[in-house]
Structures are given as structure tokens and as C-alpha cells.
Amino acid sequence: MKCKVCRQHAVLDIRRHNAGFCREHFLEHISNQVAKTIKEFKMFAPTDRLLLAVSGGKDSLALWDLLLDLGYDVTGFYLDLGIGGYSTRSKEACIAYADRKDAKLIVRNLAEEHGYTVPELSKLTRRAPCSGCGLNKRYEFNRAALEEGFDILVTGHNLDDEVATLFGNVLHWNTDMLARQAPVLEERLFGSGDSARTVLVKKVKPLVKMAERETAAYALLKGIDYVIEECPMVEGNTQHKYKEAITMLEEASPGTKTQMYFGFLKKAAPRFAENPTEDVELAPCSQCGAVTLQPAQGEPVCAFCKMKAMAARRRSEGVSAPTIRRSGR
């Protein structure tokens, strides 16, 4: 196969573009696509301070590399979830990349912040590990961005992630989730005028046009030493099963993922956004101040604080949990 740009030997085929690329032109293609995505969806400006959630995996490290090369002011944020050796190796990959590129990295530890690891939380709350993990990450990423004064929270969600989420939302007709699925979630404020305060930092996903296979290829070709192993808690995860199903469809019909996601954004997402299924009122959490739903009765308490309280209650009732291993950078 030949590179579509220079006709030299190709290293990667992108079947949905019906094209092959040599190393040089593949890297250029990815960088151009990400720059175009940032501009098209008005994600951020060169003067914005970006906080990038990094996991040590291919997507977040590739995105860090791309944003640094494009000249953005981006700081990595790693949250140690306490998932044994997997978390240790993930943190080491982030630190190694930051050191290599002389990039800024903030490391926080879930056990030190809240007194539990993800495996422990799963046991205490009797929830699937990925559920508690996702809630904690969303909460901690936003909290870190607010506390450290960042303008934008950036995540490495790729096309496969977005299509799998969309697939799941459609399978279950989660219309409220469909109304919120977008490459950009705008900042949310409480109050008005001088008393207005940001409660949700603007969130953006610059890799939404990149297939997972392309971000992996980018990381490999740039010599980025990312964590290849899968999280040990992900086995049986529904999102992963959706990805496998969608990848089979993509193999049979290249372009399926792009058509599904960008067709949704163009043709369906505005309809869900215009017709919310619930007329919800938002309020600050009475315990931590984060945004949450205003209940019909009583004080508003966010999902994170409810989960944390449940974990504390179960611990006091004597539910056994693994020992927390504390570790700093």
C-alpha cells in the first residue's frame, strides 16, 4: 500500500478514508484533524489554560503530545484510583511522559482525597467498579480544574468512545443523556453578575474524529510509552462489548462509526436538546457546592456526596474492604 500523499510505502491504512499513509503524513494528518476539530467546535483558544485528564493510556498521552506540539498551554492531571499495580504503572507512564516533554503534571490520589480506592468503593457501595470510578473521575476532574484555576477541562475521548456511548444511550433510550452528548459541554455558572461562580468547567473532547486505532498508531509512531494492559476491573464492561460490536460493523462497512456519531450530532442531537424529557431545576449541593438536581423535598445532595456517605456508612457497619495503599508522586 502507498501513502496517498507522497506515494511512498504506507504504514497505516484508514479504510474509512480509503487511504494509506506513511509515518510522516499520518502524523501530519492526525495533527491537522485535531486542530480542525478544536476550531470547528470552538473548543478553546491559545490563551486558555487547559487541564487534560491523563490516564497513562494511548488516547490521553497522544492528545497531550498533540496539544503540546500545537503550542497550547496544557497541564496533565492524573488521578490515582488505587487499582493495584495497574494504577502504579499508569501513573509512572504519565510521569515519564511529563518528564520527557518537560510538561506540567498534577497528581492526586483518590484514597488520600476521600479515603477509598476504586476497588474498595465498589465493595462498600456494591456498585460496579466502572460506575463508581466514572463518577469519581468526573467529580475530581472538575474539582481539580476549579481549584487550580483552569479555563477548560480536556479529555481524550475518541470516536470509538463516543459511538459506544451513543450506542448504549440509544439501546436504552436514555433521552436525557442523548441531549447532553456532545464534543463540547459548556461551562455552567451559579448566580449572576458579580456573585456568579463556575460550578462546572467547560469540557471538550478534541479526539472525537479520531478512531481508537488511529490514536494507538499515533502513540506508537511517536514513541510514546503508554500503558497497553487493560484495567483489571473492566472485564465484562458493557461499554467494551459495545465497542467490539461496533468495530465488527466498521470492519464490514468502513465509515459506520463516523456516520453514526456525526449523523447523530447533525440530525438528532438538536432534537433531543430542544425537547428535554424532564423539566429539571439545578441547585448547588448542600454538602460540597457542586451542581445537582433540586429535589422536590429536602436539601439537594449530589450523587458524589451520596455515594461517599454510603461508603462511610457501610464502612462503619463493618463491611470489609481491601486495605488502602497510599502513594504519592
Binding site: M1, V11, K58, V234
Partner: protein, 67 residues
């Protein structure tokens, strides 16, 4: 040829010659779900592999919570 597979890490022996697509079909792996690597370089589906080759088939699909 020696083929390194991941999650968990293991090595299997496959007879050549085969191109990359034939190798993946033999292993019952969906080509869109992996990268095939030889000597730190990526291989396209039409590349021919022989008995003396050592390649890695690296999965690219990651899983996790809906974020």
C-alpha cells in the same frame, strides 16, 4: 512466525507465508481492533509475513465507564 498477543501477554507460532489480513483471519481477530507491529513499525493488511518474522498484534479497544 512468532506472534505476540496481548491481554494476557503470550506468544503463538503461526506458519507463513501469510499477509497481515490472512494472519488476523487465522487468529480470528477483527483487523479494525488491532495494530500489527514488526520491528517497531506498523504493517498494513497487504504486507507479507514469512516464517522468520516476529510480529506483535496489539489491541486498540479500551474499555471503561461511560464518561
Amino acid at each position: 512466525m512468532k506472534v505476540k498477543l496481548r491481554n494476557p501477554d503470550r506468544v503463538v507460532e503461526v506458519s507463513g507465508p501469510k499477509n497481515v489480513l490472512m494472519l488476523l483471519q487465522h487468529l480470528q481477530i477483527v483487523p479494525e481492533s488491532v495494530l500489527v507491529i514488526r520491528d517497531s513499525t506498523l504493517l498494513t493488511r497487504d504486507e507479507t509475513l514469512t516464517d522468520s518474522d516476529e510480529v506483535e498484534v496489539r489491541p486498540v479497544l479500551s474499555g471503561g465507564a461511560r464518561r
